[in-house]
Amino acid sequence: MKTRTLELAVGGFLIAGLLAFAFLAIKVSGLTFSAPADSYLIYGKFENVSGLTVRAKVTIGGVLVGRVTAIELDPESYSARVEMAIDGNVKGLTTDTSAAILTSGLLGEKYIGLTPGADEEMLAAGATIRDTQSSLVLENLIGKFLSNQLNKEPTE
């Protein structure tokens, strides 16, 4: 084998490997090189966040505006404190914005839906949303439904 063809083949192989790496980084794991600085943090206190994960979507009217960056337990109220990074371009979040944990589809992933209110004042970075709606737990719903049915029966 001539040295030149050998070097060409090895070089092509190394480049193919690097291209595969780039594909895995950008197309598969969705890595972007935009600075994370142009986003701000807001917090939400939820009674129940079951099923919500870090990196879950935060949406307004179904449009992606941010991601959940951390979920921790508030040691005083025993409620969940969810940290959300919101895209810096989204500025119209009023202080009476409400946040709800929603499910895409019946069995899909959980995400946070924000609904801006009508207040004049805007949420500052680091502010906490008080008006929240917890994650829907199917088992609790079914349990309530069953107990309602059982309570109804004797009256009929």
């Binding site: 070097e7 083949a9 090895v10 192989f13 895995l24 197309k27």
Partner: protein, 266 residues
């Protein structure tokens, strides 16, 4: 009396076997240390390395690409059948990408690598030993560990992670081909479900770390089995078989350990 002697010789055999294993491990470690613990001269080492990357990496490309394509297509086909029952075929991309990045990519590549490249390396070095090329090299003052073993070792360590990434990328495209082009999963949800769930460091990075570990172990076993082979035709045949068997077992065992350490969050 005869029974006792029989039992005694069996126990002795057991001990001898264990000693043999420990001794072989020691020889393997010393060989690896002597071959890679020296600073190579880039003038002579780079052409040798390029030649070995060609033999070990480039020539393995075909089997890796074909295997990756078909494994990805089978994953797409099988997962679609199950997922469509729950109406969640949009998660196809996510499952395909996670399984490939975390497990299948590094492991299947390592198994194919052991069969395709590891066995060839063992047979080559074993034959060099049996035709006394290694000892004649020593005679003229060339260290066979640096000249023969080191380039093959580094070529394996460099090639296999690249092969594993190519395998994963091709397999994800194979899954896309079947899921999106053939079975009609929505193209946007295939990629977006994937990007939402695959974390670069956690999944892609750990997969690459895995394949580097597998590469070192596989190529180490291959060069050692060749270097340590009995210089007869049966000896080389046994060494080649041992390379494939030991490498496969080591890869599967290590994969369990690495997964347990890396993905504790489950």
């Amino acid at each position: 009396m005869a029974e006792q002697r029989d039992l005694l010789s069996r126990v002795a055999g057991l001990g001898a076997g264990a000693l043999e294993v420990i001794e072989a491990t020691g020889r393997a470690g010393i060989m690896l240390f002597h071959s890679i613990a020296t600073v190579p001269n880039p003038r002579t080492a780079l052409p040798l390395l390029a030649k070995q990357i060609y033999a070990i990496g480039v020539l393995s490309l075909v089997i890796i690409v074909v295997a990756g394509l078909f494994i990805g297509m089978v994953l797409g086909l099988q997962l679609y059948r199950v997922l469509v029952d729950f109406g969640s075929e949009a998660a196809l991309g996510q499952i395909v990408a996670l399984t490939l990045n975390r497990e299948l990519g590094p492991v299947v590549t390592a198994l194919l690598f052991a069969g395709r490249a590891g066995s060839a390396v063992t047979a080559e070095i074993g034959l060099m030993k049996s035709t006394e090329q290694l000892s004649s090299m020593e005679m003229i003052g060339v260290d066979p560990l640096r000249r023969i073993v080191a380039p093959r070792f580094w070529a394996g360590v460099i090639s296999m992670p690249l092969l594993a990434m190519i395998f994963t990328a091709v397999a994800i495209c194979g899954g896309w081909l079947v899921g999106v082009e053939w079975l009609g999963v929505y193209d946007g949800s295939y990629w977006s479900a994937m990007q939402n769930s695959v974390e670069f460091g956690e999944d892609v990075g750990n997969g690459i770390i895995k394949s580097v570990v597998f590469a070192s172990v596989c190529i180490w076993i291959a060069v050692f089995q060749g270097y340590d082979a009995e210089p007869t035709s049966e000896g080389i045949s046994r060494a080649t078989t041992r390379t494939v068997v030991y490498s496969s077992l080591a890869v599967l065992g290590l994969d369990f350990l690495l997964t347990a350490v890396m993905f504790k969050g489950f």
